[in-house]
């Protein structure tokens, strides 16, 4: 299912967080949003998973204006992994995953056997099945993140929105999670900080800077030395991954390569 952001603007307390953002996420594709801190990435995502109402503009899900759907209807199509994920209550892993069925269930109706089966399959997929009866508060950051991914997948969405899902994950789990996203075949809008992971994962990349989209295209088109310097203020060399051909960035620690040269 296509996801389309159409001229989204968000103004909160007089501050413009998002300036007329338009972005097409074609069905089944993975689109990454990158940009420095405070550039509006999370704000854009929050409009899609309904935590925030855009000041102007429209989010289109397939042919539907998201604002015309109820929260429940929206949640049956769009699942999210938000950044704020603290809970004080020690639910078991299985309970948290099962809550992903909430938009599909009326009131307190228990899960059907088929739904429980789905929970079990998804938990196996993201490697948290062995934690099913553990309390979520005792999990490591990585385990917890995978549990939340399981919850989002159990929701059976057509569109998946993820805000830095690789936070707290070690390299292996980062790679596994992102390859899992590829395999799901869902329409994915994902915020990533790691530009190299983004380049390897995403079909298309959008670069946000001060609430505006400054570049949009394939990773190869978007990730240039010039753009990285302009948007992130960092010097980087762009190379091709020897196996996959994806663009990958090599950073140098000093502010610019020229100063480094003067020192050496």
């Amino acid at each position: 299912m296509d996801l389309r952001l159409d001229a989204l603007s968000v103004v909160v307390n007089g501050r413009t967080l998002l300036r007329s953002l338009s972005l097409d996420v074609p069905g089944g594709r993975i689109v990454g949003l990158v940009g420095p801190n405070g550039s509006g990435k999370s704000t854009a995502l929050r409009c899609v998973y309904r935590a925030l109402r855009p000041t102007t503009g429209t989010v289109w899900i397939g042919g539907d204006d998201l604002a015309t759907l109820t929260l429940r209807q929206g949640a049956r199509t769009v699942a999210a992994l938000a950044q704020e994920n603290q809970t004080d209550l020690d639910f078991t892993v299985a309970e948290v995953v099962a809550l992903g069925r909430t938009p599909h269930l009326r009131g307190n109706r228990p899960l059907s056997p088929g739904e429980r089966d789905r929970c079990r399959r998804v938990m196996e997929q993201v490697d948290v099945l062995h934690l099913a009866d553990r309390g979520v508060l005792a999990l490591s950051g990585g385990e917890r993140q995978r549990v939340l991914v399981a919850r989002a997948l159990v929701q059976e969405p057509s569109v998946l929105v993820l805000d830095e899902p690789t936070n707290h994950l070690d390299v292996r789990h980062q790679i596994e999670l992102l390859s899992l996203l590829r395999r799901t075949g869902l329409t994915v809008l994902i915020v990533l900080h790691d530009l190299n992971l983004a380049a390897a994962l995403c079909d298309l990349l959008g670069v946000l800077h001060d609430g505006s989209l400054t570049a949009y295209g394939t990773p190869r088109e978007v990730l240039t030395t010039d753009l990285v310097r302009r948007v992130f203020g960092v010097e980087a060399s762009v190379v091709s991954h020897p196996l996959t051909g994806d663009p990958q960035l090599l950073y140098s620690l000093s502010p610019s390569t020229t100063t480094e040269r003067t020192f050496s």
Partner: protein, 373 residues
């Protein structure tokens, strides 16, 4: 459900192929374990009620108590010799013990709801300023003699009305365009509570006699001393309706505990739900404070105790909490009126004396986690 594996029955008849077959099927809690817990608690509650009705300055054995209660319920005859005992049992102790059940159940359930609503482990039914608001009303009634047309219910009515007024104030003061946010709600409630307490102090200071002081003690520490049949129906109806309504929202409460952002992505409108919960818990708390004063600690601790036993899921917590709270309050009231008889200890003293050590012991022993520590 945090019960030992032996207590559980597999939820599915066909165990899936898995590396740990003995663990599968235990997810999503076991209905059997919950049913057993509920049955056990119901039996304990019934027994506690009978024992508590029998105990007091005149000790009546449980079987005789049961006979008197049965006679009262079925309209059976009681001999003239037994009439005084019957009066004590039916007119004095029974309403008092039943009130303890209702208020204990109600406070526990409201505690569960409020902790989920403001997402704070330290919240209790009185954190939103309801009890101090009620105290202002009660003191106003007793000092200035307003609402006298309501007779013996003047105090309760004054307390209830001012509790609701206090809630409305807190609601309006904490309401923003984003709805009711948890932290703002708690902070406003606490600040308002200080304000109400100051107001109450002024009223007592202005009071012509010491009457107001004892009223204040009653409201701040709680007592079932004023219990009568007349005070039961309203508070019972409110508490029962409240428990039923809250249970209907148990999945939403689970989702709300995950945070507002996540809740939105799961299709739950937390702003609307929080507003409805606020009204519901306020009315429940107001009705209870009006008949028993502000009995502290129960609404804070019973939710935690219940979670230690049955886990965090609200469907289970809200099923077990009313029973557990009822049992607890019956015994607290019994201790309060028998320990130093004929004097009565304030309920708040007993709830703290009994509850604190039990709570801390349980928390240390079971590795209970709240907020990840």
């Amino acid at each position: 459900m945090r019960v030992s594996p032996a207590d559980r029955l597999p939820a599915d008849s066909a165990p899936p192929a898995s590396a740990e077959p003995e663990r599968t099927g235990q997810w999503f809690g076991s209905p059997t374990g919950l049913t057993l817990t509920v049955i056990a608690l119901a039996v304990i509650l019934a027994a506690s009620v009978l024992v508590a009705i029998g105990l007091g300055p005149a000790v009546i054995p449980p079987d005789e108590t049961a006979r008197y209660v049965w006679a009262a319920l079925t309209g059976g005859a009681v001999s003239a010799d037994d009439f005084t005992t019957y009066q004590i049992i039916w007119q004095v102790r029974t309403p008092r013990v039943l009130l303890a059940v209702v208020v204990g159940a109600g406070l526990s359930v409201v505690g569960v709801a409020i902790q989920a609503m403001v997402r704070n482990a330290l919240a209790d039914p009185f954190v939103l300023g309801v009890s101090s608001g009620a105290s202002v009303g009660a003191v106003t009634v007793s000092v200035f003699g307003v609402l006298t047309t309501l007779g013996v219910y003047a105090l309760s009515a004054g307390a209830f009305l001012s509790a609701l007024a206090a809630c409305a104030l807190v609601y309006l003061a904490s309401y923003t365009r984003a709805g009711l946010t948890p932290l703002r709600l708690v902070l406003t409630g606490i600040a308002m509570a200080y304000g109400f307490q100051a107001l109450m102090s002024v009223l007592i200071y202005l009071a012509p006699d010491g009457e107001a002081t004892s009223t204040v003690l009653f409201w701040t520490m709680g007592s079932f001393g004023a219990a009568a049949w007349g005070s039961l129906p309203l508070v019972s109806a409110v508490v029962i309706a409240g428990v039923v309504e809250l249970r209907r929202h148990s999945r939403s409460l689970d989702v709300m505990a995950l945070g507002d952002e996540t809740a939105a992505s799961l299709g739950v409108n937390t702003a609307g739900l929080r507003g409805r919960l606020f009204v519901l818990t306020s009315v429940m708390t107001g009705a209870m404070v009006a008949v028993s004063g502000a009995i502290g600690f129960v609404g804070l601790v019973m939710p935690h105790l219940v979670r230690i036993v049955v886990g965090a899921g609200h469907a289970r917590v809200l099923t077990v909490a009313p029973l557990a709270g009822g049992v607890f309050m019956v015994w607290v009231d019994l201790v309060s009126r028998t320990l130093l008889a004929p004097r009565e200890l304030p309920l708040g003293v007993i709830t703290a004396l009994v509850g604190v050590p039990v709570f801390i012991t349980l928390m240390r022993r079971r590795g209970y986690l709240f907020g990840g520590r």
